[in-house]
């Protein structure tokens, strides 16, 4: 397990009137080489959880094991910087972190901080820009001239250029149009399948969870409500409904068809085979 949480708790502003326990007794294991979705309502503790992954926040209780490092509450952690290189964290709306004069320089900022030479950093930056699908002529532009979607991709490239083993993304597609969202999600899938990166995505979009993710973690009130494989999670919509989650459209469609008397096998997970299945039954009926 590259990441495991044991009885982890995080309390903000201990000892003041603003004291607030954002995480309570979290136990969690993340599988290597998979895409894990983290879902939960606003204020459930998702952001606090992911900020523990590269030690931006340290646990106030419990132990976290990330790759070969151990972070225990109350102990001063070592090797923080190398941890931040291995776990790339992309914040929500990452465009605000752009600051260099050119796109290429900004993307090369991360690798340089982690000790790469100018040339190495520039090479890695160029590669990362290509990975996120930005045209080469953009590298010389100022980040401020780019469109919203391009800025977002530049910021993600800035993390990719660090070549992290684990990539954590906090709502990476918030505010993007459907086409931009699809490109982004495909990128994460490629990074996972071809480059073997372990990916965690915080999202509100069940369609994304259904289509792109392997595992799903439900966070509620600072605790882990459920952790299971996506295909089990959506097998039957009653589980979603018990947690006030609207299942993906395909699952709802299957439910409605079953209600109308069709026999829909559980393993159908795309719209085309569902259509064929229904067509078959209509023609025979």
């Amino acid at each position: 397990m590259p990441i495991s949480f044991e009885h982890v708790g995080h309390t903000y502003s201990v000892g003041t009137p603003f004291e607030y326990a954002a995480l309570k007794d979290v136990n969690l294991d993340i599988r290597e080489g998979k895409i894990t979705a983290i879902i939960g309502m606003t204020g459930s503790g998702k952001s606090t959880l992911v900020q523990h992954l590269n030690a931006l926040l340290l646990p106030t209780e419990g132990t976290i094991r990330i790759l070969d490092r151990t972070i225990t509450a109350g102990e001063k952690p070592k090797k923080l910087k190398s941890l931040r290189k291995d776990v790339g964290l992309v914040f929500q709306f990452p465009e605000y972190q752009l600051f260099e004069e050119t796109v290429l320089k900004d993307v090369a900022f991360g690798p340089k901080n982690f000790g790469a030479t100018e040339d190495e950093a520039a090479q890695r930056a160029a590669k990362a820009l290509k990975q996120v699908g930005l045209p080469a002529d953009i590298a010389k532009k100022s980040p401020l001239e780019l469109s919203g979607g391009q800025k977002r991709r530049t910021a993600i490239a800035g993390i990719l250029a660090m070549d992290p083993q684990i990539l954590v993304l906090d709502e990476p597609t918030a505010g993007l149009d459907p086409a931009g969202t699809a490109v982004m999600m495909e990128l994460f899938r490629t990074l996972n399948k071809e480059y073997g990166k372990t990916i965690l995505i915080v999202t509100h979009d069940m369609e994304q969870v259904f289509r792109y993710c392997d595992d799903v973690v439900v966070v509620a009130d600072g605790t882990i409500r459920t952790k299971m494989e996506v295909k089990d999670f959506f097998r039957d919509s009653s589980l979603c409904k018990s947690m006030n989650i609207l299942p993906p459209a395909l699952i709802r469609m299957k439910d409605m068809l079953t209600e109308k008397g069709f026999e829909i096998p559980e393993e159908i997970d795309d719209i085309k085979s569902l259509a064929e299945c229904v067509a078959g039954q209509v023609n025979h009926g």
């Binding site: 590269n54 790339g88 800035g158």
Partner: protein, 266 residues
């Protein structure tokens, strides 16, 4: 960064919290002026008792006042050193290696320390018991008479309230950017000077960009709702002076008169 106490509103329930902001601002000004009269130790004693009474009445803790005072201690220390070197009046207190320290040096510093303490006590008392919006409303009302000589009272008040409103936002934003850049390997605590300058640049540029963005968004939002400075407008909240406000003003004026008498007619 979450522990900035100076000037923060404390939501308590006390008679001072309920007073009219205009009365509180005026009273504070009167007390500030009286602090500057050279009324001697008796005068400062009276002022200290009066201001302490207001603080107790407003249910603030003295620990809170002390926290606001702390940043000033360094300044007072430097002041003491300067005084020790340049004040050569009064009786010699003691001599270290041929250098004599005079009583006036210590007395002068103590004088300033007491004045500073009193000023911080009274201003903290005002800001901790008055909501920022009430405060700007009070300032706007007090500046109204000066509109005749073209002082833009409303605009000044609007500026102050917008500035105050953005402080918590900017603190949040700064923390967000620090975290984002730390994720990219920025080390704000350690590292060589040249690295640290680069690190600070990576905070300042995004902060500037987002501040301008926010300012523009706010300006557009205000214009979209028909805001035009200088237009006549009514208020949702109308201030009204009550008996306790007049009592406060009377006490502050009495204090001022008392200090003036102690300083000049005794």
């Amino acid at each position: 960064m979450g522990n900035i106490t100076l000037g923060r509103y404390m939501p308590l329930d006390s008679p001072v919290h309920k007073m009219d902001p205009r009365a509180k601002i005026m009273a504070m000004l009167l007390v500030l002026i009286s602090i500057f009269f050279p009324a001697g130790w008796i005068g400062y004693g009276i002022l200290f008792v009066a201001v302490s009474f207001v603080i107790i009445l407003s249910k603030l803790s003295f620990g809170y006042i002390w926290k606001s005072m702390k940043p000033m201690l360094m300044m007072l220390f430097f002041l003491l050193i300067i005084n020790v070197f340049f004040t050569k009046t009064g009786d010699p207190l003691f001599t270290v290696g041929g250098f004599t320290v005079y009583t006036d040096a210590v007395l002068n510093t103590l004088y300033i320390a007491v004045r500073l303490l009193l000023m911080i006590m009274i201003t903290t008392c005002l800001t901790a018991t008055t909501k920022p919006l009430d405060m700007t409303l009070g300032i706007e009302n007090l500046l109204k008479p000066f509109e005749k000589i073209h002082v833009p009272a409303h605009e000044i008040a609007m500026l102050i309230s917008i500035a105050l409103r953005f402080i918590p936002d900017l603190i949040d934003e700064t923390q967000r950017i620090i975290k984002a850049q730390e994720s990219r390997g920025v080390d704000l605590q350690e590292g060589k000077i040249s690295e640290r300058i680069g690190a600070i640049l990576s905070l300042i540029v995004p902060l500037f960009v987002s501040s301008f963005q926010r300012a523009e968004d706010l300006a557009n939002a205000m214009e979209a709702r028909g805001y035009a400075p200088g237009e006549k407008r009514t208020r949702y909240k109308v201030l009204k002076m009550e008996t306790r406000d007049y009592i406060l003003l009377f006490c502050a004026a009495a204090l001022l008169a008392c200090m003036a008498w102690l300083a000049f007619f005794r």
